[in-house]
């Protein structure tokens, strides 16, 4: 019985945290963009505009919902959910802390501690493309279709380099289990970012492309495609797309921290209490979430051919070379860095 209770509490806390982070990110995005442009940003709802996400949510719920004539009604309604759920599913395997003892109960600080966590993340994360492509296709609009076409081409191209970058980490650790990958980076010297700097850079770039963020936001592409795949969406379905995007960003940030920055390990204090570890995890994730915003308001969008060139002619060969070198080094038992 207590087992089930622990599960329910864990799920509630982690999903609440995920959706809460997504809501906070919608405010943070506007605040950071404002600050970077000498503006103040939303400050009318609540102190410092902190209640803005709630106001936005209420607004979205009360907005009229339009389904365009000629749209495929079923897929049109299904697509936002398809966009949001993969991100929410992948958070399940992220370890937020080690197995700890709370009030006499052994608690594993991840919802599902899979042996093949990485594989699960990639498999389910790959589904997120369906939300974009179904939304674009079902809208029966040229802009939407173009946006989703570009997005799907981009996500498939970059998924490849992302997987190869992750593979280098997996080769180094010898495990697909996220808990073990974190455990192998207990001290700051063991963090994968120092052992696999190239893979780290490739992975971070690929996460931007995977989550359709600037400078790779070809799915939306405001000046060219109105709003890309969600041009025809309104009301809460539109909000779901956004929720999905922010959840995907959060998950990607968590994954980057887990794979390359030692997850919940506290730098210079490997014996720290697990709560501090969870806090360290949150701080590292927050940095990568900020990085998403920071890059978005700094870089212009790439041209589509530049994007494809970067994906196929730069990132993929680099990732392959990285895998090769890592593989040789590991099989020969040589420490690379």
């Amino acid at each position: 019985m207590s087992e089930i209770l622990i599960w329910i509490v864990k799920i509630a806390v982690i999903y609440g945290g995920l959706v809460g982070t997504a809501a906070a990110m919608s405010l943070a995005e506007r605040k950071v963009s404002a600050w970077m442009q000498y503006r103040i940003g939303p400050n009318r709802v609540g102190p410092f505009g902190l209640l803005q996400p709630i106001a936005d949510g209420i607004k979205f719920i009360f907005k009229e919902e339009l389904v365009p004539d000629g749209a495929n009604k079923l897929l049109f309604r299904l697509a936002p959910a398809m966009a949001a759920f993969p991100a929410m599913l992948t958070i399940a395997v992220i370890p937020f802390g080690p197995t700890v003892t709370i009030a006499g109960h052994e608690v594993n600080l991840s919802i599902a501690d899979l042996d093949i966590g990485i594989l699960f993340v990639l498999a389910v994360g790959g589904l997120s493309i369906y939300g974009v492509i179904l939304g674009g296709w079902a809208s029966n609009s040229k802009y939407s279709l173009l946006g989703s076409l570009r997005a799907s081409a981009q996500m498939i191209s970059y998924e490849l380099s992302m997987i190869l970058a992750i593979l280098a980490v997996v080769v180094l650790t010898g495990s697909l289990d996220l808990q073990q990958i974190v455990a192998s980076q207990a001290t700051i010297g063991q963090w994968n970012v120092f052992h696999q700097p190239l893979a780290f850079v490739l992975f971070v770039i690929a996460t931007f492309a995977e989550t359709n963020r600037h400078p790779f936001d070809f799915a939306e592409c405001e000046p060219e495609l109105v709003a890309g795949f969600h041009t025809e969406y309104s009301s809460m379905r539109f909000a779901l797309f956004f929720l999905g995007e922010y959840c995907a960003m959060t998950v990607m940030a968590c994954l980057t921290v887990t794979l390359f920055l030692g997850g919940y390990s506290v730098p210079f204090a490997p014996e720290a209490h697990w709560a501090i570890g969870v806090l360290a995890f949150a701080v590292k994730t927050a940095f990568f979430l900020f990085l998403f915003l920071w890059v978005r308001w700094t870089l212009p969008r790439l041209r589509f051919d530049q994007l494809m060139r970067l994906g196929w002619k730069v990132m993929l060969p680099l990732a392959l070379v990285n895998i090769l070198v890592t593989g040789i080094a590991v099989s020969l038992g040589v420490e690379l860095w």
Binding site: W35, M36, Y38, I40, N43, V201, W294, T298, L299
Partner: protein
């Protein structure tokens, strides 16, 4: 015309150093002074040159100077002013029975101020114009009345402007 395109150096072609340079610039901007004006709380500064909505000046004897001559009505390019006059026992003999300015039509050009021979109408520094229906933006005499003191700076300014033309030494 031949446009010479500059070849990118290797460091530029790598992109990452330039990206970090750009990011350091945007990060520095985060802490700069914000230039947003919080409008309703911090209104725009106005002065006597500001041409806001026209108002009727209430003189020291609590009357307005308007004799309902209709010159402002005629001068108004947007047909925003409507005047109906009637007789009065005051010395000026005629005063407006109805003096209405439709602020949805008014374009704040200031022609009424220039046209007025009795210095009865002046542009104020009041600029805010929002309401829930059209009819409530058609203002009558009572809404347009403003004490002379509140418009004194504008009145002095207009007099000083017109003095340039009144001076005998002035050319043309």
């Amino acid at each position: 015309m031949i446009v010479k395109r500059e070849e990118l150096t290797f460091a530029e072609r790598l992109y990452l150093p330039e990206i970090f340079r750009g990011m350091s610039i945007t990060f520095a901007k985060l802490f700069k002074k914000k230039i947003t004006r919080q409008y309703p709380e911090q209104p725009l500064p106005t002065n006597e040159v500001t041409r806001g909505q026209p108002r009727l000046v209430v003189k020291d004897d609590d009357n307005i100077a308007c004799v309902s001559c209709g010159l402002c009505e005629a001068a108004c390019p947007a047909y925003a002013i409507t005047i109906d006059g009637h007789e009065t026992s005051r010395f000026i003999e005629r005063e407006p029975e109805r003096f209405e300015i439709d602020f949805l039509r008014c374009i704040l050009c200031g022609f009424c101020e220039e046209a007025c021979p009795k210095d009865a109408i002046f542009m104020s520094d009041e600029l805010e114009l929002a309401d829930y229906d059209r009819q409530s933006l058609v203002w009558g005499i009572d809404q347009l009345k403003r004490p002379k003191a509140s418009l004194q700076k504008r009145i002095d300014y207009v007099y000083s402007l017109n003095d340039r033309w009144r001076k005998p030494s002035s050319t043309s």
